[in-house]
Symmetry: C2
Subunit: 227 residues, 2 copies
Amino acid sequence: MSRQNTPSLVVMKSTLSRLPLYYGYIDRLQAAGVEAVSSAMLAQHLNLNPVLVRKDLAQVSSVAGHPRTGFEVNQLLDDIGNYMGYNKMDEAILVGVGSMGRILLTNSKFEKFGLNIVVGFDKDPYLCGIQLGGKHILPMEKMESLVQRMGIRIGIITVPDDQAQEVCDQMVRCGIKAIWNFAFVPLKVPEDVLVKNENLPSSLAVLAHKLAMKSAVPSKINEITEN
Amino acid sequence: MSRQNTPSLVVMKSTLSRLPLYYGYIDRLQAAGVEAVSSAMLAQHLNLNPVLVRKDLAQVSSVAGHPRTGFEVNQLLDDIGNYMGYNKMDEAILVGVGSMGRILLTNSKFEKFGLNIVVGFDKDPYLCGIQLGGKHILPMEKMESLVQRMGIRIGIITVPDDQAQEVCDQMVRCGIKAIWNFAFVPLKVPEDVLVKNENLPSSLAVLAHKLAMKSAVPSKINEITEN
């Protein structure tokens, strides 16, 4: 019988970022009929440090892995899913049905990871009334009543940079408590509202600088902090 | 006269992620004719800790800020631009001209941040030969000769998940040394190749988990490691 384990409530952001990767891979193993997976196997396939993988899984799994065979696939998938809340769907609204908004609205992958974007808003009257990926596009005036009626707490901003703060303010007034921001501007929000910025220029900066550093001083590359 | 400062070669990844934000804001100040900016002003506008901003700028600026007036806008913009290499353009290829590929190809913002995506590749013969945002779309067979002739070192992967590793292998064979990966799969690369993953489900996981934690144990929210 397996030793019981108590999942940890407080977790590193870097662990959180890896859990969806484990989940995606273990989900494919389950679909392929594989019954057990070791942390070493996960580490090898996902190109990660085995010690890191073991620590990550210990934080979220309810049962310790067997020293030789590892974790039962079904159990581990359930544990990560429960921990991440993939089983109880979070609902979100999206504002700004441009090219990035359309990608997010029509990407069914997010539902697997516990996010249901229920509706898109746009100020363009020609977009309002249509459906994309089965999701209705509504005019901005409908935001408040819909968010409050459905108790939605997550808002996604995919408008041009110069409209992002205004949309953010409107979301906050409606009661949104977490904002996923794809505009390249910092948002001012009250203390009780969370923001996750998706900044492509910042990601690019990290990659390009590492590459430049590597060419300049190969021995120093490992000094760039990884997290 | 200002005290001379020596920019640091080794820098935290979190600093690197913020530098494009400073750059974007200071660039707007310059366009508006503003001549000096203090770290306190940057901190307030960008919603960051003033101590953090001061430390970040000390790492990259050639001249220490004046205690009262702060930094000269032109100088600071030059310093960040030089540090980040925005003045000498990096060239990149992109593979996979789907919805995400098109956003990246046609987004002129990247050029401001030192990245010129010179060409897109796709295996769909109907896309090959057309232009998007002034960039040619070429068939995959042309990748090797173009990368080698132009000495390109950065590759962007925007193909479906199940094709990402194959495209990655091809890039590595062509001599690409840094990969910006938008597919939600880990890539296996030789040790001398850098990868930056752009994982939307991972970003989402961080946001959704923080929100859940906040509802569950408001006092614990600050314990999630920020970097």
